[in-house]
Point group: C2
DNA sequence: CTGAAAGCGCTAACAA
DNA sequence: TTGTTAGCGCTTTCAG
């Protein structure tokens, strides 16, 4: 078991003081050439690496990494959504030579993300407290996929409401009148907004809102099945479905065909996410594409600005989505 | 700009010494009930969160996170391979309530992964030095996708050589004799082993190795195109291709059809990775599936063992792959 | 059960 | 240009 070599060992070997060693580590100009060389030699010999935690502690500098806090939910790592986000953020971190500190927050323990350059919160649901803590410490942070009005923090999200409205109007324009909505987890702002958008579209087009046609889920494929069964067995079956996520939509398509019905002949369906899986379903899925990767990149870029300039003006950015028309909807 | 609240503030507010505060933070039993309550109240009031860097420094404890070092290569975050690995490791970290510290190592700067519980190295190519540094510090680490013989470190990889051999023999059994190989980046052990396996298969079946039939690339789609063009324009064109990655194979399929040829009629092709994209190509791609997610999980599990038990016996694990037969190869 | 004091490895004034 | 000396925020003996 080797012990850690510290700056002191180096100093001793080089025959200088620890401050001199510290100086060469930090590339301070004011070190004599002779000493610098001696120190560098000693560092190499010992294989010394400064402890970045100690460096941080002593200097107050933040460590060059951004934190990404994702709520722990069923299959965070399986979800297309989360993976795309990680990807976008990862790319941006890489470009900026930042490390990425991924923290999947379970219930209570508000992790330890202080002392990072900044942190990104993906979706605020279980982790609102965590956000508040970081925010209170005045650590740069940006929230994605959630517009938080009551906290002066930067937010980048997609305009879920407008996107949902657009999707449902697409269905309406196709002639559908009986349109159901399978929601996501309504603890989630995105799901709530999607639901609002659904209602907006109906209202605007003078279609009444049938609460039977709104089925809540937690985004799981499991509950999607349940929702599908309920909806398909209604006496007044909807002719179209707007589903809050592609993975649920796909699951539902399975149920539909198992029930002996056909998409889009008997029932039209539009999803949300533009999950590539949807492309290769028996009938390719019409869906709403969110600019997930871009969001990730914007978040990191914004964080950089926050770290470097500490602007006091916060931004709440809402990005548009795009509806991707494929084969799962038909004209009535 | 709020200043950080420290243990001292808490102590003052609670009217006790900082050691007492420290004790309640660390759940030491020996704190009087009255004091404990006072301290907890103060902590809540101040919203105090212990600085984990300082905790680490003072206690010598490692921080509950595993590092993942990935060499910086073109599109690390776009590659299916890397993403699967991250996913597997992410899942395992989540299960173990560990954070994941992702470090994409560029050239020189050997990051700062000491003081983590352990670190996983994905592919050793530019970062051999980095590995040695961590290893020398006696920090638990495991290398994946690379069996390193000359360092007593845990390794988990896929048996690329056997897998490649199997893939090529599959082609041979189909009656192919003129089989070319588009390699990956030969700086990579995986690519080298794949090449060896290719040769093994040929040798074992008394087919001569035609060096013209071996085209090196760096795994990029770009170079894959070049390789395809070269191979397709040979007077003695191969009838089958074994390509070191699915994404290259897919690219090559594109070139093939652009040249007016057909897969598998004119040319058979097998890839490597089991990238889902291959499933949905015009002709679905026969490929080799690596247990990437499992590798990630095994790596984390192994790390846990290393951290907890510090066994001195290292393991070099080589996992089998599985060939996934689809439609891109034909019988001669 | 509790407090005082000595560090953990490093940086940052301040002197020299 | 260098060395000395305080700390950074916390844990951990060691007394009491």
């Amino acid at each position: 078991m080797k012990k850690k070599i510290s700056i002191e060992n180096v100093a001793k070997l080089a025959g200088v003081s620890i401050s001199t060693v510290s100086r060469v580590i930090n590339k301070s100009l004011s070190v004599g050439k002779a000493n610098r060389i001696k120190v560098e030699k000693a560092i190499k010999e010992l294989g010394f690496k400064p402890d970045f935690l100690a460096q941080h502690l002593a200097s107050g500098r933040s460590i060059p990494a951004v934190g990404l806090v994702i709520p722990r939910y069923e299959g965070a790592f399986y979800s297309f959504y989360a993976l795309q986000l990680i990807r976008g953020i990862g790319i941006a971190c890489d470009n900026n030579k930042l490390d990425l500190f991924l923290h999947i927050t379970g219930s209570l323990n508000l992790g330890n993300m202080s002392s990072l350059s900044g942190v990104i919160f993906a979706d605020i649901i279980g982790n609102r407290k965590h956000l508040e803590a970081i925010f209170a410490m005045n650590i740069p942070c940006v929230v994605i996929n959630n517009i938080i009005e009551d906290l002066d923090v930067d937010c980048i999200a997609v305009d879920n409401q407008a996107a949902a409205k657009e999707a449902v109007e697409y269905l309406i324009n196709l002639g559908h009148k009986k349109i159901a909505h399978v929601t996501g987890d309504l603890n989630t702002q995105a799901a709530r907004m999607r639901l609002e958008g659904y209602k907006d579209a109906l209202n605007k087009n003078n279609l009444s809102i049938n609460s039977e046609y709104i089925v809540e889920t937690d985004y799981s494929r499991q509950e999607a099945r349940g929702a599908a069964e309920k909806l398909l067995n209604m006496e007044d079956r909807p002719t179209a479905l707007f589903v809050a996520s592609d993975s649920m939509a796909l699951e539902i398509m399975g149920v539909i065909s198992k029930e002996g019905l056909e998409v889009p002949k008997d029932i039209s369906i539009v999803g949300f996410d533009d999950n590539p899986e949807g492309l290769y379903a028996p009938v390719s899925l019409t869906t709403v594409k969110q600019p997930l990767i871009e969001i990730g990149q914007m978040a990191v870029d914004r964080l950089k600005v926050l770290v470097e300039k500490r602007p006091d003006k916060k931004e709440k950015i809402s990005l548009p989505c795009e509806i991707v028309v494929r084969d799962s909807c038909r004209h009535m």
